[in-house]
Symmetry: C2
Amino acid sequence: MKKKIIVQKYGGTSVANTKKIINVAKRIVSCKRKGNHVVAVVSALGDTTDELLRLAGEISKYPSERELDMLLATGEQVSVALLAMALNELGCKAISFTGAQVGIMTDSSYTKAKILDVGTGKIKKHLAENKVVIVAGFQGKDLKNEITTLGRGGSDITAVALAKVLKAEMCEIYTDVKGVYTTDPRIVPEARKLSTISYEEMLEMASLGAQVMQARSMEVASKFNVPMHIRSSISKEKGTLVIKEVKDMEDVLVRGVTVNKKESKVTICDVADKPGEASRLFEYLAKAEVNVDMIIQNISRTNKSTDISFTVENKGLRKTKKVVKEIIKKIGAKGVKYDENIAKVSVVGIGMRSHSGVAAKMFKALASKKINIEMISTSEIKISCVVSSKDADRAVKVIHKAFGLEKKR
Amino acid sequence: MKKKIIVQKYGGTSVANTKKIINVAKRIVSCKRKGNHVVAVVSALGDTTDELLRLAGEISKYPSERELDMLLATGEQVSVALLAMALNELGCKAISFTGAQVGIMTDSSYTKAKILDVGTGKIKKHLAENKVVIVAGFQGKDLKNEITTLGRGGSDITAVALAKVLKAEMCEIYTDVKGVYTTDPRIVPEARKLSTISYEEMLEMASLGAQVMQARSMEVASKFNVPMHIRSSISKEKGTLVIKEVKDMEDVLVRGVTVNKKESKVTICDVADKPGEASRLFEYLAKAEVNVDMIIQNISRTNKSTDISFTVENKGLRKTKKVVKEIIKKIGAKGVKYDENIAKVSVVGIGMRSHSGVAAKMFKALASKKINIEMISTSEIKISCVVSSKDADRAVKVIHKAFGLEKKR
């Protein structure tokens, strides 16, 4: 019988030091002993990436992105070599590869490259020789043989892409939490670990601020139906399975509550209230690569002008301010206001598709605690409300309770 | 007129932190402003390599050499990326490459690979675009696309090899000393910096313990007549030129005095004094990859047996002891003695070829200070004496003085 392939991804905290690397090696050996082939994808040790960024920052405020990728790719290369040594030490044959070596081909968008193709020949050859194959996460090479990196959460993407091309039985994502929770347990101690979640829900939750996985890797997993298991690297307990939507998932109205405190609200005041004005505004923002999240246009105060509000990530706020300053001149707006003290609280669940009343229940819960809603946005499977950041945790608590998420099902 | 190419090599101490990297970048810019093309070869930051070895050591006593090279090669990759950023920041176009990317092709002897071929296409292309090309020292790849490293002093070898294939005007080796001295200035404060030295002399001095360059890179430089300039990375002062022997170099009897305190003496007692017995001994040692330096066979005490002494590097001593234990059984020797308290003091100079009396002068100098000579070995351009390690510095001083090396010529 042909052996099954398990892809395991270990994040930076799981390989923060040599002791933890040895633990990861033991975990891999135990999976292999159960009769599986193992392909391990590893991130850089602990805060190596931040440390490298600090060095780059000491030299240049805006370092060349090509050189930044050259620099950052070393982090994972260190991890894979050390993990291979740890496996050898346990008597387990293993071989490590950089992304470039194993054939993770990407486009040439340095620091945020997209995977174009993944080679399998080398991996299959070494698996057939009964080795554990260890691949550096987060990195690849472009067609000109230049080193590229995949951006935040890049190691997850590497793991999912490998699981797809290798037709892996499972893509296991090892992390420092035990799985996906109904909400952040640091805010709501009664938060429950979910045993399953659909790709779409996980994707929304990741986009909305759940830290456990990056949205981009979930998109890939969802597109190719890669079965995933998000679990703890220090416990043997089962984590959360991310799978294709199944019928009885719809019975659950809301799967989880997320909160994102890393956005700010921008309000452009007195924009001429005529067709095309708002689109011009967002065209300029898009051209300047400012990622806008929620948008609302307030009811026109006079017949002639209106206020437009949108949210942006805090880390892009400085750039946004620069761009907006120019834009308001061009479109003849009166002014701009910034509010950095906001939080976006969201509920997610594919059950919403077939049930109504979720929004009403959420608004009622917020009202019961006198929490003011500043902006609202909805999609088929999520509802988001912007509230004042001081109300954020209270909002999460009351919503979590309103939907009875703490109860076992 | 075609621009001249200067290859500059910066060691780990020259790029120990970002401040030093910025200084190196300034140095490169100044060389480029003089109308040269610059190819920079860089080592790993400060003690990065030792730090990586420490991590490997925590995981495995004898890590796989393939994985060790995978691990160590990251050190130089960090340096080249940071140096490229520093050059960009100064408004100078620059691009960094790993050894593998630039086409440093080696054999597959991990941790001590030999360069087979060096690609020039990529470098020439980017030089023609007026960029500084930065190459990671110490590393390459083999024909199977595996990362290899060149062993101790590997960055020097990379620089010399590049200077050769690029037909560089000069290969500048930047280091933390101002050049090559008549002897170690820490031992003899009057030691003089040499303005020129021949390849052969430099090769002998490096082999005999002068720390400034590795012997292997000098072999390559000598073979291909690569002109070298060994100089300080923090001073603008000229250093020492390493060049082909010229006629008037012979007027100087002795160029320098070296001392090596990192060897031990091994004496195999009562070896049967018959033809082939010594050769068997050294065959066994060679098979076990024990590098033997000096050898002397004492005068037979009886007609039947003799003592054989040789020196080995201290870092190979443990292995030597293990091997010798087995050998003395096989060749029927009576026993073995070890002396770790020795030092090898040597004089080097191509003038010796055409002048006699150097050995006599050296022995006389040692005798004047009642320093006992335990072993002697000579070559065409050097004479080495093993003395007790407690006498080493005094020996260097008296020899340096006897040959008048402190005097300007």
